[in-house]
């Protein structure tokens, strides 16, 4: 029945929204604790952003498809440092898969002082389709 599908889609949207919020909150907590403990010299803050339309995939959410990490460093971060932060995320396949499954398609790294940031297309880093080859 079509109305059951519509209902399921509505419920799924709400539950995914909750999961997305939970992931962002737990990331922010981990980043804050690492900063307080002195493990991380920069405090990171995760948030949702608009994302890049060109990076969309079939699991992309309707809105806010970007996972943005803002480094609160107080200075413009060089591209190399942004790349290190980005690569650390992209090399964690479980995290990247979770991000893609929850509807994100773009990873963005920004600083709080500079103008520029880095963007990655998440779907390129989830290592799927191995059996299709």
């Amino acid at each position: 029945m079509p109305w059951i599908n519509v209902w399921n889609n509505i419920i799924n949207w709400f539950s995914e929204r909750t999961e997305r919020g939970k992931l962002i909150r737990s990331f922010n907590t981990a980043a804050r604790e690492a900063f307080v403990a002195g493990v991380a010299p920069t405090m990171l803050k995760a948030s949702m952003s608009k994302g890049n339309k060109e990076y969309r995939h079939q699991f992309s959410a309707w809105i806010n498809t970007g996972f943005r990490l803002q480094a609160l460093s107080g200075r413009p971060l060089p591209k190399k440092e942004m790349q290190i932060i980005g690569q650390a995320i992209l090399n964690d396949v479980v995290l990247v898969r979770r991000l893609v499954a929850l509807g994100w398609d773009t990873l963005e790294i920004h600083d709080d002082a500079g103008i520029y940031g880095c963007r990655w297309k998440l779907i390129d880093y989830i290592s799927i389709g191995g059996m299709l080859e």
Partner: protein
């Protein structure tokens, strides 16, 4: 002009207020919507799809975001120090150590952004290659 308008409005509102069946219909409608909504929520909660999803979420790997933060800020330093010490060229005189260093170095490159794996490799290098970091 204003008085005429007010009178006009009253003529519209009054019959509605008088009509008790309209209020009753509204109440029945609201009760029906509430009932259908409750039934749908209960139905969704006990559906096989929801239970399966719940089970899947329970079995998924728990995201270790603390190690992701460590990967961002601690892995690079450790990688750089290990890269210099474990390079196979440092053991070109000892064939056995050269082979071990080649294996360790290839693993090192693979886990460039994985702090936990780098720690394990550090221990392995200290034991097998006799280096001191």
């Amino acid at each position: 002009m204003n008085i005429v308008k007010l009178v006009d409005l009253l003529s519209i509102i009054k019959p509605i207020q008088d009509n008790k069946s309209f209020v009753l219909l509204c109440l029945i409608g609201a009760a029906l919507i509430f009932l259908v909504g409750t039934v749908l929520v209960i139905r969704h909660y006990y559906s096989a799809r929801f239970q399966l999803k719940k089970k899947l979420y329970q079995n998924t790997e728990i995201l270790d975001l603390n190690s992701t933060i460590n990967n961002m800020f601690c892995a690079k330093e450790l990688y750089d120090s290990l890269k210099g010490k474990c390079h196979p060229d440092n053991f070109s005189t000892d064939l056995e150590k050269f082979e071990k260093a080649t294996t360790i170095f290839s693993l090192l490159v693979k886990s460039k952004y994985n702090y936990n794996a780098l720690l394990a490799l550090k221990e392995k290098a200290e034991n097998e290659l006799g280096i001191n970091l």
